[in-house]
Every structure is written in C-alpha cells, then in structure tokens.
Symmetry: C2
Subunit: 187 residues, 2 copies
C-alpha cells in the first residue's frame, strides 16, 4: 500500500463501482503500515471527510440495521429476543466483511483515541435499540437493560471473534453468548 | 464561586483537612458556572494535575472498591452475586457523596469529550471486575458477561438516580435492576 495507489484512486476510473470500499481497505492498510497518527489527512478528501470517517462511516448504517431488526421482530417476541436477532444480524454483517473488520480492529486497538470513539458508538447503538424497544411498547428499565445487555454480548463476541482471526461463525457465537448471559444473570 | 476562593485555598490554612474535597466541589461549581472548556488550568495545580483530574481522580479508588468486593465475596456466591455486591457498594459510595456526584454529572453531560472519558472509565471497571472473577476461578465468557452486565446496571441505575436528583436509594435501585435484568435476559 502506498500513497500512489490512493492518488490513482482520486482520479476515479477503474476502481468504480466500489471505490469507497476499496479506498477504505487501502486506508486501513496505510494506517496499519504507518500508524494512524502519522497518516496525513490530505489523501482522503474525495471519499471520506477525514481519517476517522474511514473507520466510522458504517456506523449510521449499522445503527439503522439494528433498529430495523428490533422494530421488525414479531410482536410475540420478548424484548431480549428482538435484541438478540438484531445483534446476530450485525454479526452476520461483520462476518461478511471479515477482512475489513479485522483490519479496522487492528487500527482501533493501536489508538486510544479511536477506542474512545468506538465506545461512544457502542453506547449510541445501545440507546438507539432501547428507543426502538420503547416504541414497541417495552417499558423502562426493561428496554435499556435488554439493549445494554445486547451490546455487552456484541462487545464480548466481537473480541473473541477477532482473537480467533474472524474464523468462528459470529452469529452463532452471539446466540451462544445470549444463552450464557441468561445463565450468568440467573446466578 | 470565584477565582478568589480558589486562590485563598492555595494558601491552605482553614480549609484543611478536606482541602481536596472542597476544591473539587469549588471546581465543579466553577465548571458549571463558566463551562468546562472556558475554565483555565492554572488554578488547579496544587491538588489536581489538570482540569480533568477533578472529575476522574476517584476512578482508581472506585475500581479498587469494586475489585475488592468481588474478590471478598463468599466462595459460594455466584459470579453475578459478587458483581451485584460490588455495584451496590459503588452505589452506596455515590449516595454518600450525592451532592458531588450530581455536580460532576452536570459537568460531564455538558461535555462530549468528558462523556467519552466516562465511557472509557466504565469499560475499564468492567475489565477489572472480569479479571477479579477470573482470579476466583470463573471461566470466560461468564466472567466478562457478568462484569459487563453489572456495568450496564450501574449505568442505567445511575442515570435514573441522577434524573431523580439523587433521591432514590441507589443500592436498592441497583438490587432491583439486577432482578429486572434476570427477568429481561430470561426472555
């Protein structure tokens, strides 16, 4: 990965149609090679507002996916079942984009500032899911507890998945962790 | 609250023995009055390394309290029982320092940068409790799930407590939320 490649991409052309996805990957590799702090902003202006956006541009879509899954769950589903379905859907998405997810995590792990932003993102996802549950008529504190529990599962599942190099089936791992959470909280 | 008061305090004297606690309160009021961003660093050098330290100097002691409570729980206690005991102990501490806790939260709520640091702190507390559980022989993912569930309860309980101006009994609220979490995750 070199600046030349990114420069070439700025001219568009043969990288279409997934120019953004390809630049994301190139940028992630650049961050890993040079370090996030040492990478300059000027190469990213066409596809990304700034260096951070390479890592967080998918956050809006992820939130929408979680919220839609919670909203569309069957009426008979318990809140935790709707949350589990949403987190599994997110897991399937990460599994699909395994390579990007691994690169991205390498960058985030190396930068405390990015870890902070990641935690903020997770907290926002929990709030958004709790709101979606309330709109289904779930009362507090049940809505927030279920949503926060779901994010705790996602965090732990994702960490294990990354540690095993993205090999285990992430949605399956998430299902197992929801079962184990039920056992753990039952005491 | 004015700079004069802090200046007087820098000369020590009649504010002892709880000079640090009093300056903390004075600083919190100053942050609320002027805004955290607008407050300059130069008044804090005796008791606090910087402006942020006024808000986070208790984090180390809080972590130690949580870890000690988890470590000292009865051998027969389930991991979630040890975590619940730890979170209740933290709740009792906040209840005792109700006024400072309310002032501190006002400052944090007004500053996204401080909210990030607060989330980092909570994530560290979860990791420290999970580690303490593992040292008791609790296996993963049970240790992390129980610890993260505990932090989720703390977060939600604290938010409700702050919204009701610190009036409800926080340890009691925490106990109730652990029960509700059990119901919620059972589905």
């Amino acid at each position: 990965m070199s600046l030349t490649v990114i420069k070439y991409d700025r001219g568009m052309g043969r990288w279409e149609p997934d120019a953004r996805g390809r630049l994301e990957r190139a940028a992630l590799e650049l961050y890993i090679e040079r370090g996030f702090e040492q990478t300059t902003e000027r190469t990213f202006f066409r596809y990304f507002a700034d260096k951070r956006e390479v890592l967080f541009w998918g956050a809006g879509a992820l939130q929408e996916l979680l919220v839609t899954t919670v909203t569309d769950a069957a009426d008979a589903d318990a809140p935790i079942t709707a949350i589990s379905a949403a987190i599994q859907t997110a897991g399937a998405l990460f599994q699909e984009r395994r390579e990007s997810a691994l690169l991205r995590q390498t960058v985030i792990t190396a930068n405390p500032e990015l870890q902070e932003r990641e935690l903020i993102k997770l907290a926002s996802l929990a709030s958004a899911m709790a709101r979606a549950l309330r709109q289904r008529g779930v009362e507090e504190p049940g809505a927030s507890l279920s949503a926060e529990a779901g994010i705790a599962v996602l965090k732990i599942a994702f960490e294990r998945w990354i540690n095993e190099n993205g090999r285990p089936d992430l949605p399956q791992l998430i299902r197992e962790l929801f079962d184990q959470l039920k056992t753990a909280t039952a005491g």
